[in-house]
């Protein structure tokens, strides 16, 4: 699959006089588990709402699944959305929710849904409101996956879950993404999920979108991002003079400084400096602390601005 599951061009959304999202341009390729990351209020929910057709853009446009308008019948058919706090009808039983979802969609894998709920130990005839938080989340996820979508969109799915429930939820999501298509190729569901929790991101995501203050700061494959950034450690006195590669973020102590730079393993390291690879969490935090910096794919889209400095 070489299409883009979500493609936005100059997308913006305004509520009243506040822009929740602006100048958002990105293209999330299919076959990935994409993480949409950013602090609260960064515009993650807004972006996802626009992509699934729950909101209309104020500026720009967005298409899904290779050019479909969000909210169109084809888009609704191919996208399954699990909103924040996983809304299910609290007074309906799990069996009722299955029946309901089956009636509201063209495709529904009843056998899978029932087997999955049995595997999870979720009773079919208990009201959804009486299930635990983790069970409700798993129920919502089961309903979404049983629709056999091409894209699964999750808005902060694990925010309210305990660690075990979180692990189980993500394992289910990732297993759905790992459908077999032949060696070396993924034919499963593409996933876009939003989170403001950075730990465990590296294990789960292979595409990262970083939103900050309503704008896209970073967008790209995780492997590419990690391969194109290095952490240089060296004398603090020389930190200001470093100009070989763009610097994203500086952390300095009295004698020592760390520079997050956009460089690869092949780029030469200045004498007296050490280069280390960067983890995803560290990279994300650095960008979040530098609202002016951006790492966007494609020529001419990345902005190289001078970062502010952070004193330890």
């Amino acid at each position: 699959m070489s299409m883009n599951v979500i493609e936005a061009t100059g997308l913006g959304k305004r509520y009243g006089s506040t822009w929740a999202l602006r100048e958002c341009t990105l293209a999330i390729p299919a076959g990935h588990v994409a993480a949409l990351v950013g602090p609260n209020g960064a515009g993650k929910t807004t972006l996802l709402n626009l992509a699934v057709g729950l909101a209309e853009p104020s500026a720009g446009g967005v298409t899904v699944l290779g050019g479909l308008p969000p909210g169109s019948p084809a888009a609704l058919d191919g996208i399954a959305f699990v909103a924040q706090d996983t809304p299910v009808y609290k007074n309906l039983s799990a069996a009722d929710m299955l029946h309901l979802t089956r009636n509201l969609n063209r495709r529904f894998d009843q056998r899978y849904a029932e087997a999955r709920l049995a595997e999870l130990g979720i009773p079919l005839n208990r009201k959804a409101g009486k299930l635990s938080g983790g069970q409700q989340a798993q129920l919502a996820l089961t309903l979404a996956l049983a629709r056999r979508p091409r894209l699964l969109v999750l808005d902060e799915p694990v925010a309210m879950l305990d660690p075990v429930a979180r692990h189980d939820f993500m394992a289910t999501v990732l297993a759905a993404a790992a459908a077999e298509k032949g060696e070396g190729e993924l034919g499963g569901v593409s996933v876009v999920l939003s989170s403001h929790v950075l730990t465990e991101l590296e294990r789960v995501a292979d595409y990262l979108i970083l939103l900050s203050q309503g704008r896209v700061q970073v967008a790209g494959e995780v492997d590419d991002l990690l391969a194109s950034h290095r952490m240089l450690t060296g004398p603090a006195a020389e930190a200001d003079k470093y100009a070989e590669r763009p610097v994203v973020h500086v952390r300095r102590g009295e004698a020592q400084a760390h520079l997050l730079v956009r460089a690869t393993a092949d780029d030469p390291v200045p004498p007296g400096w050490e280069a280390h690879p960067v983890g995803l969490e560290e990279l994300t935090l650095a960008y979040l602390r530098e609202p002016g910096a951006a790492a966007l794919p494609g020529p001419g889209r990345g902005r190289h601005t001078q970062p502010s400095e952070v004193t330890q």
Binding site: V33, M170, A171, A178, G188, R203
Partner: protein
Amino acid sequence: MDIDKGIGKGRVGVSPAGAGGGDRSTAPSGRATAASPIEFRLDAASGVPTYLQLVHQVEHALRLGYLKLGDQLPKVRDVVASLAINPNTVLKAYKELETKGLTAGRPGQGTFIQATLSQVALPELTALRRSLLGWLGTADGAGLDEDGMVALFTSALRDFYERRSGSRTRGGAASGETEGVA
């Protein structure tokens, strides 16, 4: 049998699926799931990239004899489901193993071991094991408990390799192997 009881940071280990048919206590349905002899684990705090951890665990299992020629590696889906990691990571690890010539993928069936790393012949392995058990008996007689035995072994192992090849730490190469050094 488990020989790695959380040995230090950076050490990864494999635990066999068990001789008795592959059911793990963590599987709620209790049914025999994987056809693979091994099960992966993940040390999230080790700093080693996930796919490398998987590669090392396969090599480790090959050396110790848990995996033999023709054995199947766990299916991508099963690894993803039990570790909650990205499927591309597993694919990357399997591709790396294939590049190293250790495995081969059969379309529609899975990934299979096609070479071994074991440089120790089976009778030697048996003899080594017997002498190790003897040592363990002596250590036990001297009053050493399990943790003491493990700590003694680990430090001796470290000394052995340090004396043999000097420090192995290379400054931060992304694909550097840290195997063998705690």
